[in-house]
């Protein structure tokens, strides 16, 4: 009996082997990422310091078990049992926020990035907003590869280019897997070829060398195919998922109808001509703000009316109590309105002192994901400062760097503060800088850094800038050390044109440049956010002492509104208004108190309107 049993067992074993063999023969492992219903690499890039021996990390389980064993970074990974419901972004926050562990999004196709509701529970600390991980719905996806979108990471970054980018374009490199357009058992989809968590975890799990990849990928895909052979029952559930996605994306289609002109990729302004309104009006959100805010906002409205700018204002005010959805005094509706209109103008806001809420500026920045702060600084003819020939633009990265807010006390008397530079954020702001330079006719971009001391952090920033610079050969690119830059700025500001900088240097340099032209009361400022959002703001304070007395100087808000118009491609009207403002100040007859005159706000506004 025993030998017979032995024989039976071995026979069965051989049969099962051949079964697996067949599986492999039928689906020869190609250089394809594993099918989507199988949770991707259990170890997200964040937990792999350097992939020492990738196969262990990558193959979650021996091929025979259907439920692969989950491995460490628990919060981030979807549990293998329910297919493809990745943990919602909320679950990501327990992991240290500064570790860029992307979270697979809640639904794969769905709400546009800006509607992601979760904001980090704790005050100033922010993980990268989940929308880096959410693909925008298909309509909003950036135009197929063109030079304004950053190329997928050339080297080893599994960091987060917006997944859609990886999905929509074919791999530029053999080391990144081809996007799962033909994900194994999914019905052909026109919507999203695959859930994004792939491209997050896939870009290049094996950073060592591309040579390795083929072999290892073959291994993995082989195992994955084996798994798929055994987990056919998941296909049904996956089909349901896809159907859900279909429906949801149809629903969200309306929101994004034709709000993107196909011309220039991500940052384009949108042509509202094909929207439904017949009057061709652009709706813009207006936050008058506190203190002198309402007066100067009024002034802007009057000037715009007189100049016949096709903008309709939607006013929002800061609430009097904390809105729990945003944890600040700004209501959810206000933020929604900015996200909807894509354009906004903000007056000075005074942050009420107290705890339990985020500062208003921080709220705006995080919720709208405003990543670049643009300040055009040019000397106002007629307002004499010590520097008469300033004409430069500072573009400052606004989300990370030294202002990540990640500090802790190591022991009593020793404090550490983290400065974070990521490839993605640097690429983003560099892209915007070059795009801005191109569209505004600037011929030089200078990256400001301190890479001789902070070699890795500013070195990464510089590397990203260089990469983007290569795509714009007509724009001159140079790198300047920050202390040299400071010195040259105060000696000879004409040496610079467009400056692009990480957060801290940007803060200091942009305020320095504001000082060169006469202070914050005259400086325009524009914040650019993901998805083409532009929020122009006046950076000066709310001046409660002169509030309501009709003495405020509306120049900063007016010039910010002008830069907003430039962003909207209404260049003609923008130039008209700008000329009127400059002429009024140059004449010198009507000047408000801070410029050394005695006019009131209304007189100044009237003078500008007359000059139009």
């Amino acid at each position: 009996m025993a030998p017979f049993k032995l024989f039976l067992l071995s026979f069965l074993f051989v049969v099962s082997l051949s079964g697996t063999y067949k599986a492999i023969a039928d689906n020869p492992p190609t250089l394809r990422p594993p099918p989507q219903r199988i949770p991707p690499r259990r170890t997200p890039p964040g937990s792999m310091p350097t992939p020492p021996s990738p196969p262990q990390h990558v193959t979650p389980s021996p091929p025979y078990s259907v439920t692969p064993t989950p491995s460490p970074p628990q919060d981030v990974m979807p549990s293998p049992d329910h297919p493809v419901t990745p943990s919602p972004p909320e679950d990501v926050t327990p992991s240290p926020p500064h570790l860029v562990i992307p979270s697979p999004p809640q639904d794969v196709a769905p709400s546009p990035p800006h509607y992601v509701t979760t904001s980090p529970p704790h005050g100033e600390v922010t993980p990268l907003p989940p929308q880096y991980v959410t693909p925008p719905p298909k309509d909003v996806m950036p135009a197929p590869p063109n030079h304004t979108t950053p190329s997928p990471p050339q080297d080893i970054t599994p960091s987060l280019p917006s997944p859609s980018k990886d999905i929509t374009r074919s791999p530029p490199h053999h080391s990144t897997p081809s996007p799962p357009k033909d994900a194994t058992s999914s019905p052909p989809q026109s919507i999203t070829p695959s859930p994004p968590q792939f491209s997050i975890f896939h870009p290049n799990p094996f950073p060592q060398s591309s040579n390795n990849n083929f072999f290892l990928f073959n291994l993995i895909t082989c195992f994955d195919h084996l798994r798929s052979f055994f987990s056919g029952q998941l296909t049904v559930v996956m089909a349901l998922q896809i159907a859900k996605r279909l429906l949801r994306s149809r629903a969200t289609n309306e929101i994004f109808t034709a709000t993107r002109s196909p011309s220039v990729g991500l940052f384009t302004t949108f042509d509202r001509n094909y929207s439904s309104t017949s009057s061709n009006l652009i709706t813009a959100t207006l936050f008058p703000g506190d203190g002198i805010g309402p007066e100067i906002a009024e002034s802007v409205k009057q000037v715009f009316n007189a100049a016949e700018v096709p903008i309709e204002w939607e006013e929002h005010f800061v609430g009097t109590e904390v809105d729990p959805r945003t944890q600040s005094f700004l209501t959810w509706e206000s933020l929604e309105s900015v996200r909807r209109n894509k354009v906004g103008l903000k007056g000075p806001m005074a942050t009420p002192i107290g705890k339990g809420h985020r500062s208003l500026n921080l709220t705006l920045r995080k919720e709208l994901n405003l990543y670049a702060n643009v300040r055009p600084c040019y000397s106002l003819p007629g307002y004499k400062t010590r520097y008469d020939d300033v004409n430069l633009v500072t573009i400052r990265e606004n989300t990370e760097g030294e202002y990540s807010g990640l500090e802790h006390q190591v022991v009593r008397g020793v404090v550490e503060s983290l400065k974070i530079i990521t490839r993605q954020a640097s690429l983003r702001v560099a892209e915007y800088a070059f795009y801005y330079a191109k569209t505004h006719g600037r011929d030089r971009v200078s990256a400001v850094h301190k890479a001789n001391i902070m070699q890795k952090t500013d070195g990464l920033f510089l590397k990203c800038c260089r990469e983007v610079a290569e795509k714009y050969p007509e724009i001159k690119y140079e790198e300047v050390v920050i202390d040299n830059c400071c010195m040259m700025l105060v000696k000879n500001p004409t040496l610079f044109d467009v400056l692009v900088m990480p957060n801290l240097y940007g803060d200091i340099i942009s305020d320095l440049c504001a000082g060169l032209i006469g202070g914050l009361g005259l400086t325009p400022s524009l914040n650019i956010g993901e998805g083409g959002i532009a929020l122009a703001e006046a950076v000066h304070g709310s001046a409660p002492d002169i509030a309501g007395k009709n003495l405020a100087n509306p120049t900063a808000l007016l010039l910010s509104a002008v830069s907003m118009l430039h962003h909207l491609d209404l260049n003609e009207q923008a130039d008209k208004i700008q000329d009127a403002i400059l002429k009024t100040i140059a004449e010198g007859k009507y000047r408000t108190g801070d410029l050394g005159g005695t006019s009131t706000t209304t007189e100044f506004t009237k003078a500008i309107i007359d000059h139009l």
Partner: protein, 368 residues
């Protein structure tokens, strides 16, 4: 010295004496017996314009017959570390004069300047930015001393790549270092009759780190009630420097902000070519050009030998005072100031077109 005699003689003949406020013999420094013994000073010419300007200092010292001997060492920015004999020499002599050391960009070599400061624990860096009479700038009445913490802060050099594409850099602030720099700043203000000390920070954003720095400053400020103390945020500070620099007196800052503020202040007061400065610790002092704008001068200054020696000459005057040769220091400073006031011999960055050597000859000729 012999081959310079003729040009120097020429300058003697053409010299005029514009009215300069030099006190004539109304100050007497009383030395102790034996103070005139020559002191050895380590000299590191460095890279770029370094050798040129340190050569200038050597010439002037020789002309003055100052009781200084220089021990020269060749150090270049691309070396991995400062050679130990140089460090040994500085420890022995306690005083060093240095040209700039070039830091290769992103090359994985940490800056030798920073290394030297850390090794010798030169925790205070001092730059004196002031308007030189006769040198027109956009701003008047500037007289700022920037005292900058030199060892920690953002320049701790602790960086690492968390995952590919994400890099972290640690900024470390300790109470110990903040306290001692604040103490130094207030002591400096007290000893030099300065009225105000301003702390520069960004504590609205970096609440813990710069908050700790501010706390230390406030504590020390309470011990010097006669000196006014105030605080200013760094971006506002830069804006004010550019519009109203006369409001600042002594500024105490952590490492990175100090770098920026010093270079900005140097820029508004005449450029980095004329600002003296140095690094000082408990036991050692290294004098160098005050604010070097992160480089060692443009190549063409080196090639055409038009580097500006004024900064290092004024720093060496500070060094002479540090070594307790105040009379020599006064003479040197007066001579340099007179040359600038005259305006005939100025290098390119001040708007003239003399070479380094011509300026040096002028200084030597103007020595009393």
């Amino acid at each position: 010295m012999a081959k310079r005699t003729i040009p120097i003689l020429k300058q003697f003949l053409h010299r005029q004496h514009p009215p300069v406020s030099t006190p004539s013999r109304s100050v007497t420094y009383m030395p102790r017996p034996g103070d005139g013994a020559p002191r050895t000073v380590t000299l590191i010419p460095g890279d770029g314009i370094g050798p040129l300007v340190t050569g200038a200092v050597e010439q002037v010292m020789e002309a003055m017959h100052a009781p200084i001997y220089f021990e020269k060492f060749e150090v270049h920015g691309d070396m991995k570390a400062i050679p130990p004999e140089v460090v040994e020499s500085i420890r022995r002599n306690k005083v060093c004069l240095k040209g700039g050391l070039n830091t290769p960009m992103g090359g994985g070599v940490s800056s030798l300047n920073v290394q030297l400061r850390k090794e010798l624990d030169l925790y205070a860096s001092l730059v004196n930015c002031f308007n030189l009479p006769g040198l027109p700038t956009r701003h008047e009445n500037v007289d700022i001393v920037v005292i900058r913490e030199n060892t920690e802060g953002e320049y701790a050099g602790l960086e690492h790549e968390v995952v590919p594409g994400v890099v972290e850099s640690l900024k470390v602030i300790t109470k110990f270092c903040s306290e001692r720099i604040a103490k130094y700043a207030f002591e400096y203000a007290y000893l030099n009759n300065r009225k105000t000390v301003t702390a520069v920070h960004k504590a609205n954003i970096m609440k813990l780190a710069d908050g700790l720095f501010l706390e230390s400053c406030r504590e020390i400020a309470s011990k010097y009630p006669s000196i006014k103390y105030n605080e200013i945020i760094v971006d506002n500070c830069c804006m004010q420097l550019v519009s109203k620099p006369e409001q600042f007196d002594v500024m105490v800052t952590p490492n990175l902000y100090g770098n920026l503020v010093a270079n900005t202040a140097a820029g508004i007061a005449g450029g980095t070519g004329v600002m003296p400065g140095g690094n000082v610790g408990a036991d050692h002092a290294v004098f160098e050009q005050g604010a070097s704008a992160g480089n060692v001068g443009k190549k063409k200054f080196v090639e055409r030998k038009t580097a500006n020696p004024v900064a290092l000459l004024l720093s060496s005057a500070m060094m002479l005072r540090h070594l307790q040769f105040p009379s020599f220091a006064d003479r040197l400073e007066n001579s340099v100031k007179r040359v600038i006031l005259e305006g005939k011999y100025r290098t390119k960055d001040l708007g003239g077109n003399s070479t380094t050597q011509e300026v040096v000859d002028a200084v030597i000729a103007n020595l009393e």
